[in-house]
Amino acid sequence: MTTTETDRPADGPDSDTTGDAGHRTGRRVPDDAPDAFEADLLPTPKGASRALLGSLLAPHRGRVAAATAALLLQQAAAQASPLLVAYALDRVVPALRAGGRGPLVVLVTVAVLCAVAAGGLQWAFVRLSARAGQDVLLDLRGRIFRHSQALGLDFHERYTSGRLISRATTDVEALRELLEEGLQELVTVALAALYVTALLFWLDVGLGTAALLSAVPLALLVRSFQHRSQRAYLAKSTATAAVIVRFTETLNGIRPVLAFRRERANDAAFAALNSRHRRLNGDAILEMARYVVGSRAVANAALAAIVLWGAYRVATGGLALGVLAAATLYLRRLYDPLDRMGVFLNAYESAAASLEKIAGLLAQRPTVAEPTAPRALPPAAPDRPGREVAFHGVRFGYRTGGEVLPRFDLALAAGTTVAVVGATGAGKSTLARLLARFHDPTEGRVTLDGVDLRELSGAELRRAVVMVTQEAFLFSGTVADNIALGNPDADRAQIERAARAIGAHDFIVALPEGYDTDVRRRGGRLSAGQRQLVGFARALLADPAVLILDEATSSLDIPGERAVQRAMGAVLRGRTALLIAHRLSTVESADRVLVMSDGRIVEDGAPAALIADGGRYAALHRAWRTSVS
């Protein structure tokens, strides 16, 4: 159902930017190209996935080498049996018949050693390679997660959680298969090829050359398999993500799904995505089948041809019979691991496709970058609460044009509470987002006590500026955990104090397990209003110098809102606050009101003064008065 759109608004639109939405299309992607997000094909710089794999493996070079060594020795020990048989028959039997026990002791010792080595090294190899593999996966998962968290809202609004889940789970899983099986297969194949080719050359240069020549068509086959299966796996990875996106979305919107009887329509839509996944999955598996047939046929044909040629040479006296006999046996062993090569290539291509997707994600640059040399905020003056906020010649628009906020200057004195009102689309939320540095201004600077926000480290900025939005999402965990998100170091007493201050304490203690109620477990269902209160408590606990409230009270009932307002008197004292509210009841207590219209601040002053002036605010106020009476 999402295929109809190729070009949706690219950047964090909010209520205040829709008027310009038409100008914001195709920011990152040329207009004629299909949308990269829609197709799940973020541009990946050339060689990025290989570089990624390299950087992941580099720290574990030692362990990988040790695992390889263990495997080499293990193979040697495991392959020793034919030699032991030869030794037994040629040396031990005659010695025993002659009454000598020495060679028998040697045989027993070597046999036991080989058995122990084969078993022990197998054990060591599995452990070493698992350790290296798991460390790589841990590293990769962490990188995906950290990077995605660093990316901006604009990214997440388009990428969807389903795709990110797909990257962090199924795509990582593909790499894990490569790491778990790949090394073993690769070493076995390489070892066999090297060993057998060398022996063949030693036996007869002609036969050796012939065997080497047979590698040419095999190599071509491998190459074409690589190309084809790469394509197949890329397509499959995209299809997997599409299935996951659909699945998550249904789960997260289960109530509307049920209420609007979407089950059947969803079944059909999911079945379509799922059968596409099935087809592409089958395609990928069949590529392997095709490779196995091709390589096996080429190998067997080469074997037949070489044996024929050898036999002909034996018949004409050019080759010793024993050499041919040995060579044919070895040739068979040379071609045996071809399937395992296929297994390796398969795992490799699957992992490569996934790595490419991951590399594409990691190549996305955050639109709001961390400073390279962060500055610290000046220490807060004890006599002067809050911090001073200033917008210097700020202009904001999206890259393709379309100004949301024309150039303006604005200073918010430290410790004042400033309310912003205006109709939908006036630019209120954009103003708030600039202050919270969800976006950077196109032009000009936003400063906090004179320091440009862009020069502050993320941690410093978030200590100073906190934004509470109307989306009161709760994370799984307890109510206390959710409040503690505001300040992870807070103890229970501090959490309760914050909840009490905002009027959330009573409903929380009424929950089955009070503050320890799991928000997803029994009785943990909170109403939208209750969730907003939790969000407020979270903000209080964070104790920032600048607090931004963007429609943070929309779902509260009137007593709840009143309680919050009463609390705000105390809470906002000592902070600089920017309030965006549709309900003017919240605005009345502000020191200053800004009225915005079409991205401009059209009125600015104390609430009472603005009412007296009889402008827009006065009109809004009248309308609100009649609505509450």
Partner: protein, 621 residues
């Protein structure tokens, strides 16, 4: 966030009795049944192919010993021809086996995923309240992948290798029973070890899969809650929580690897020791003249040929064990009883017809009690003894303090939950006699949280359209958008109503989402309308315009509107006050404002009596 509380369904999970791996895997049969012929053929092909692999060396031996040794050129050509033929046949059989299972196993995986998706959509809302979506998702992806792999590889090769080992064992015993016994001596201890391993590995594999599910949940929440994480600069603690879980996954995976290493090591060691013992014993016997050297060589080469089948058992069992765990996890969800579809529950249609006569029209609640299925037994029900009559065409506002049960009450009307006692009638028909499908066709809802889907504006709105020939007529959409005062902002979107709204509609503002959700509710001109605080995110002007447009719709619809503010209440003809799970008062807004202190408190913010403790506390200050 702490990680200890992540796994919401963990307690239930570990409580389940662990069935044996075989029984878990046998449950796959209904899904495997359609492809059983293909799988059996593939198994036969695998056996034939492995036989051919044995024949090729024999032909080589014959070629070298016969025609080549005798300088017989014609025979050499013949042998070469045989070799080529066999080689091509072998290649084709190898390919055939893979081709046979490729599409069918992909189909099994897809069928199981489809079944899971269908099922979770039909599970009660209470189930979804309890389960994190990451856990469900990981079942639909990682677990199913494991199951497909099991069908392709371990299932087939445990069979083929088992047969090979059995036949090989018999041949070995037949050739030289004493050496054969020595060689087969480790079989019993190995089997015992494997079964111990199987049980242990199954447990750890289970933990690993559960942890991946938890990890999935964190990733998902980190995106859905990105505004909060960014607003509070908490990506570090979020990343820490993620890292802890990822570390836990790693620890479990390493434990798996340790188990696998042990079984694999022993699986290599014991047969090697037995082989060495047989070699030493055989050598002594050869020296004593009890055995010919040729027999010993033949015996040992056969034993060597059995090595891969024996060695592979360790990881084949590990894969099977993981697959059994995945099957358990999958069926855990599939075994959850779905809500019935189609037929009415509890009462028969005949009884319903009789009741239609008796009950009045409109939306009637009679003695409705509701207790959440997972609520503690001693907790009071969320709703008790609710009696309320919304007359046909009437709009009833539902007002109550936070937590008084308003949203719960509204969830009963579209049968998202069913009352635990009492009944609800829609135009005289007992809701319980209607199928959920019918009930939801009659009732449209705008939820407190306006969740949209990542589809176009039009698709999101028309979701609520009645099924019918004119359901997706542009005029239908236009009317709905007009009622919700969304025409203007939708027209300003890059592709107007065809514009996508992003995940959960997050690329729109709260007010815009709310208006689209409202449009979705009214687009189908439903008989009954349930609106949960539908105007909370709108500014005063927009709210006034939506109210004006909504009035026309409400004039002809029986509606229940949850309201927090006087402006919303004024949409209604009458108001019901919900207090502590009961209807405390019904009347007009002005009536209640005058007569009911709690209502007055809720509507004006002044001190009131009753209600929740919070108001009392605040009021006393």
């Amino acid at each position: 966030m702490t990680t200890t509380t992540r796994s919401t369904a963990r307690d239930e999970r570990t409580g389940a009795v662990r069935r044996s791996a075989v029984r878990s895997l046998l449950r796959l049969w209904p899904f495997v049944r359609p492809v059983r012929a293909r799988l059996c053929t593939a198994a036969c092909v695998a056996v034939v192919a492995s036989c051919l692999s044995v024949v090729v060396p024999l032909v080589l031996k014959w070629l070298v010993d016969g025609p080549v040794a005798h300088r017989d050129t014609g025979g050499v050509w013949l042998g070469g021809g045989y070799l080529l033929l066999l080689g091509v046949a072998e290649a084709l059989l190898f390919g055939l086996r893979r081709w046979l299972v490729a599409r069918p196993t992909a189909a099994v995986e897809a069928a199981m995923r489809d079944a899971l998706y269908r099922h979770v959509q039909r599970l009660p809302v209470a189930f979804h309240d309890r389960w994190a979506s990451g856990q469900l998702l990981s079942r639909a992806t990682t677990d199913l992948q494991l199951l497909r792999l099991f069908l392709v590889f371990p299932l087939l090769f445990l069979l083929v290798n088992g047969v090979t080992i059995a036949v090989g064992g018999v041949l070995l015993l037949a050739q030289q029973w004493s050496l054969g016994l020595v060689l087969l001596a480790p079989v019993l201890p190995l089997m015992a070890m494997c079964s111990v391993f199987q049980a242990k590995y199954g447990q750890v594999a289970r933990r690993a899969l559960d942890q991946v599910g938890d990890l999935t949940t964190v990733v998902e929440e980190s995106v859905l809650g990105i505004r909060i994480i960014k607003g509070f600069g908490r990506h570090r603690s979020q990343a820490r929580a993620f890292r802890e879980l990822a570390r836990a996954v790693r620890t479990t995976e390493l434990r798996k690897a340790r188990l696998l290493a042990a079984i694999w090591g022993v699986n290599t060691l014991l047969p090697e020791v037995a082989l060495g013992a047989a070699l030493v014993l055989g050598t002594v016997q050869v020296a004593d003249g009890q055995l010919s050297a040729g027999t010993l060589v033949a015996f040992l080469s056969m034993a060597l040929a059995l090595r891969w089948p024996v060695d592979s058992i360790g990881f084949l069992l590990a894969m099977s064990s993981a697959a059994a765990t995945a099957a358990d996890r999958y069926f855990e969800v599939l075994d959850e009883p779905a809500v019935e579809e189609g037929g009415p529950c509890r009462r028969t249609n005949g009884a319903a017809a009789a009741e239609r006569e008796r009950g009045g029209g409109g939306l009637v609640f009679e003695g409705v009690e509701f207790r959440y299925p997972d609520a503690a037994p001693d907790a009071p029900p969320a709703l008790r003894g609710v009696d309320l009559h919304v007359r046909p065409g009437e709009t009833m506002a539902l007002v109550g303090a936070t937590g008084s049960g308003k949203t719960t009450l509204t969830a009963l009307v579209p049968r998202l939950y069913d009352p635990t006692a009492g009944r609800i009638t829609l135009d005289g028909r007992d809701l319980a006699t209607l199928s959920r499908e019918e009930a939801r066709a009659l009732v449209a809802v705008a939820f407190e949280e306006p969740t949209l889907f990542s589809a176009s504006v039009a698709e999101n709105v028309l979701m609520g359209a009645a099924d019918g020939p004119e359901a997706d007529h542009p005029a239908v959409l236009r009317r709905a958008l007009r009622v919700a005062q969304a025409e203007e902002f939708v027209a300003a979107l890059p592709q107007a109503a065809a514009t996508g709204v992003g995940e959960q509609g997050m690329s729109l503002s709260g007010g815009q989402r709310q208006r689209l959700a409202l449009a979705r509710a009214v687009v189908g001109r439903p008989r009954f309308l349930v609106l949960d605080d539908p105007l909370s995110a709108l500014d005063v002007h927009t709210e006034a315009r939506v109210e004006a447009a909504l009035r026309d719709v409400l004039a002809t619809t029986t509606a229940l509107v949850v309201a927090h503010r006087p402006s919303t209440v004024l949409l209604a003809d009458r108001v019901a006050l919900l207090s502590g799970g009961r209807i405390a008062a019904v009347g007009t807004h002005h009536q209640l404002l005058r007569e009911n202190a709690e209502y007055a408190a809720l509507m004006s913010g002044g001190p009131g009596r009753g209600g929740t403790g919070r108001q009392e506390g605040e009021g006393a200050r």
